[in-house]
Point group: C2
Chain length 154, copies 2
């Protein structure tokens, strides 16, 4: 597996990967993630790292500096194809984005995720990666779907 900046040729894997994460992403979320990845490749507004198995994209993450902060980054998306989960792909993407962040002067990274059951593995991943929960808001995404906010100091 290799980790590196996403290549244009890998973009076609992004949408199918999100759709293969059954019942996790809503249609609007898929659209937003696809738009952010494509936009980032065009404009460089965000950093996008790809995890590849040979030529195949098996995971990606999108992060960027939070506007109006000196050294705070936000991890917007971290997605691993279901067939490649539990093999360290997420941890490798996380390490890669932390390295990039440090090079750019980043000192902490925030992210948010859902309190839904299907996000339990995501929450466990963030905790094991060193993130600490700093707050939660009930019904944030939709009724019964809370938001949990995490921060990791680098």
């Amino acid at each position: 597996m290799t980790i590196g900046p996403i290549d244009r040729s890998q973009l076609r894997w992004v949408e199918p990967m999100l759709r293969d994460c059954c019942e996790v992403f809503k249609e609007e979320e898929i659209g937003t993630a696809v738009q952010m990845v494509h936009g980032a490749v065009l404009t460089g507004e965000y950093s996008v790292l790809a995890a590849a198995d040979g030529k195949r994209l098996v995971g990606f993450c999108i992060a960027g500096q939070v506007p109006l902060t000196e050294s705070t980054w936000c991890l917007y998306w971290l997605v691993v194809h279901p067939e490649f989960q539990r093999r360290g792909v997420g941890a490798a993407l996380q390490s890669g984005i932390e390295r990039e962040m440090r090079t750019s002067g980043g000192q902490r990274i925030v992210c948010e995720t859902s309190g839904r059951d299907c996000y339990a593995p995501a929450r466990a991943f963030y905790r094991s990666a060193g993130y600490v929960e700093y707050g939660r808001v009930a019904d944030y995404y939709s009724p019964g779907d809370s938001c949990i906010f995490f921060c990791k100091v680098i």
Copy 2:
């Protein structure tokens, strides 16, 4: 004092008002706020309410629905000219934006503010307006400048 959608003729007051809030806003923040207000008037992407004393703009707020949420709004900016503070202008803007939010199906509003001393009145305002702190992140904006996160259920 009147509260209503901002009018193009009021835009010229926005930047001077931010500059008159001595030592509160950094240059980059002024640029961002001015850009958001102008962008919102052009595109309707955000709601901007103006508080006016006669023709003069004495306060404004910018809010919008948080992407990928069903009923959560974010209050991005709420600014009152120093000469008009402590007269209920902020509370009137807050009531106005809540009314607009409810009409659009909004059920909660989040906002964030700085932990710096000069933001103590802002934090007191949010608490008195019914916001509850749900988290804070140290050094979020810059070293020594934490971020305090608030939420108000409507």
